[in-house]
Amino acid sequence: MLELDAMVKHFPFRDSLGRARGAVRAVDGVSLAVPKGSVLAIVGESGCGKSTLGRLALRLIEPDSGSLRFDGEDILALKPAALRSKRREMQLIFQDPFASLDPRMTVEAAITEPLILHKLHRGRQRARVAELLERVGLRPELARRWPHEFSGGQRQRIAIARALASEPRLIIGDEPVSALDVSVQAQVVNLLGDLIRDLGLTFVLISHDLGVVRQIADRVAVMYLGQIVEEAPAEKLFRNPRHPYTRALLAAVPGQGGALKLLEGDIPSPIAPPAGCRFHTRCPYAEAICREVPPPLVQAQEAAGQIHLAACHFQDTLPPATPIREAAADARLARLQSFFIPNREPTA
């Protein structure tokens, strides 16, 4: 289980004379727990701090304050050598499979590298590479090819195989399917779902795409300007969003959102976030208190037995959320689409 507590990361910046001029408050007091074998999605728009949070969760960057535990172990207390060996269990998948694979390494070399680094499967590394390629739906013969010979979807499969090579228990995917075309994205989403289930992975999905989040995540945390504004089981968050920002995000999804109540204006700068509730400058329900008092992230009373947190002064008195549009029951379309749904992803 992964636990982050009161994580803070500010990026200071200086002017041309080297004087401190302020800081981007990328992550500003975030606490999260991801139970073993579950998928937590962190959603939000650009600049909300979700990618920084992902890097903090793997200690790829050092927090200003806060604590980080993985299976009870204090990751921030680890010495560099111990952290390196811990990294075997914690892997990251990036958005851009064109940037994350070394163009001068064959697929086999790229996937063997973590095996050598962590001294795994000595004497049978070639066989292990073949297993990993099959696991992500690629033919083992492709091992001797170079990254440029593959499409975006195939490269992302290779990047996943490389991440799986060290047999991690935790994977953080930072927009892992955002660069892919829809038809290929669906293949990789299905693959990730299979891997998470079959390998019992703990997975943190960082995404701006609410559809992908709905398909993979068990729980969802919504970030706005460095803070979590709502966190709930996926079903609850999509059915009964309590925070006005979550509602606005859902309503804005083209083709599927509710009756559109558009948010005014742009996301404020994380250098100088608004006082009080950071969302108050765009919130249709904001009142005087919202401009002054930051709302605490509190448990919803109605969420019987489930943890459903929201940070809004008026979450109990807001009008009901406009529901997301249900897909029309279309038996013809469903039957035709079933021809496109294999039980397992075929070998590509």
């Binding site: 829809v182 669906a186 897909a327």
Partner: protein, 321 residues
């Protein structure tokens, strides 16, 4: 009369590694005040089609077929004089389309001065009015700012103001909101709808997102590997999709209302257009393909105004079997 008629448009790119047939005999029309969406994935030819209409393709492109703007043939000379006047465009990345050395107000005013012959003072006053019209708050102050001082959403609003300043007959919007956050995307698309209603401009909306098509298009052309796979009104396309590619694409997009056991996934990848498969270009990825798909399927009208290029359509016959 249609604002735009595209008749059997073909585009070939001559590259070092051979001839690439990016667009193959694509035809469609857009009436004034309507939005036609061209939807498809990377490499389907949707952007090349847009650039051909604008006359902005690179030198290694060879264009065949006819393009008419309000009935008049769009020759290269006609394109040059129409661009920024009857023929306007907005692109995905407004930062690269705006000039960093001039204020945004000057850039809107320049369009008005060039095409309407206004005095500098009148042009600036009109430019500020245009910025207000695209809902830029505090427009008089924003007009004095440079592109880098504005957010992505604001920059796209400035691009729309420039595009619409001269009341174009046709606006081509190539992935206008792809670089924007979802809440800002919703604002920009709603603004485009509203301006289209007010001005009667015809819009060609190039997008990869079927959700955007569903909410904002009147008519749809689905493209795959350079060809039209399906063409219909948006209402008909979503009610009764006919081409297997459209059906697969609809099933591949995750839904918000429920978690699906598995998404429909279209196996394989798009073909190399230097060496496309014979016959139907979608056949290698199509679960409905049969031997006869090796012959190029004609675009057939299956219902009034609803066309699909698939010899297996209507697929309801396949279901009944």
């Amino acid at each position: 009369m249609n604002a735009l008629d595209v008749d059997r448009l073909s585009i070939q790119f001559h590259t070092d590694r051979g001839v690439l047939q990016a667009v193959d005999r694509v035809s469609f029309s857009v009436a004034a005040g309507r939005t036609l969406a061209i939807v498809g994935e990377s490499g389907c030819g949707k952007s090349a089609t847009a650039l051909a209409i604008l006359g902005l393709l690179a030198d290694n492109a060879e264009v065949l077929g006819g393009i008419r703007l309000a009935g008049a043939p769009l020759t290269p000379e006609a394109q040059r004089s129409a661009r920024g006047r009857e023929l306007a465009m907005i692109f995905q990345e407004p930062m690269t389309s705006l000039n960093p050395a001039f204020t945004v107000g000057e850039q809107v005013a320049e369009a008005l001065r060039l095409h309407e012959g206004l005095s500098p003072r009148d042009a600036m006053a009109r430019a500020i009015a245009m910025l207000e019209r695209v809902r830029i708050p505090d427009a008089a102050r924003r007009a004095k700012q440079y592109a880098h001082q504005l957010s992505g959403g604001m920059r796209q609003r400035v691009m729309i103001a420039i595009a619409l300043a001269c009341k174009p007959k046709l606006l081509i919007a190539d992935e206008p909101t792809t670089a924007l956050d979802v809440t800002v995307q919703a604002q920009i698309l709603a603004l485009l709808d509203e301006l289209k209603r007010e001005t009667g401009t015809a819009v060609v909306l190039i997008t990869h997102d079927l959700g955007v098509v569903q909410d904002h298009a009147d008519d749809v052309v689905v493209m795959y590997a350079g060809r039209v796979a399906e063409k219909a009104s948006a209402a008909k396309l979503f009610a009764m999709p006919q081409h297997p590619y459209t059906i697969g694409l609809l099933g591949a997009a995750p839904r918000l209302d429920s978690k699906r056991a598995r998404l429909a996934s279209i196996e394989g990848t798009v073909p190399d257009l230097r060496n496309p498969p014979p016959g139907c270009r979608f056949a290698p990825r199509c679960p409905f393909a049969i031997a006869a798909c090796e012959i190029t399927p004609p675009l057939v009208e299956l219902a009034p105004g609803h066309f699909a290029a698939c010899i297996r359509a209507p697929l309801d016959v396949v279901l009944a079997a």
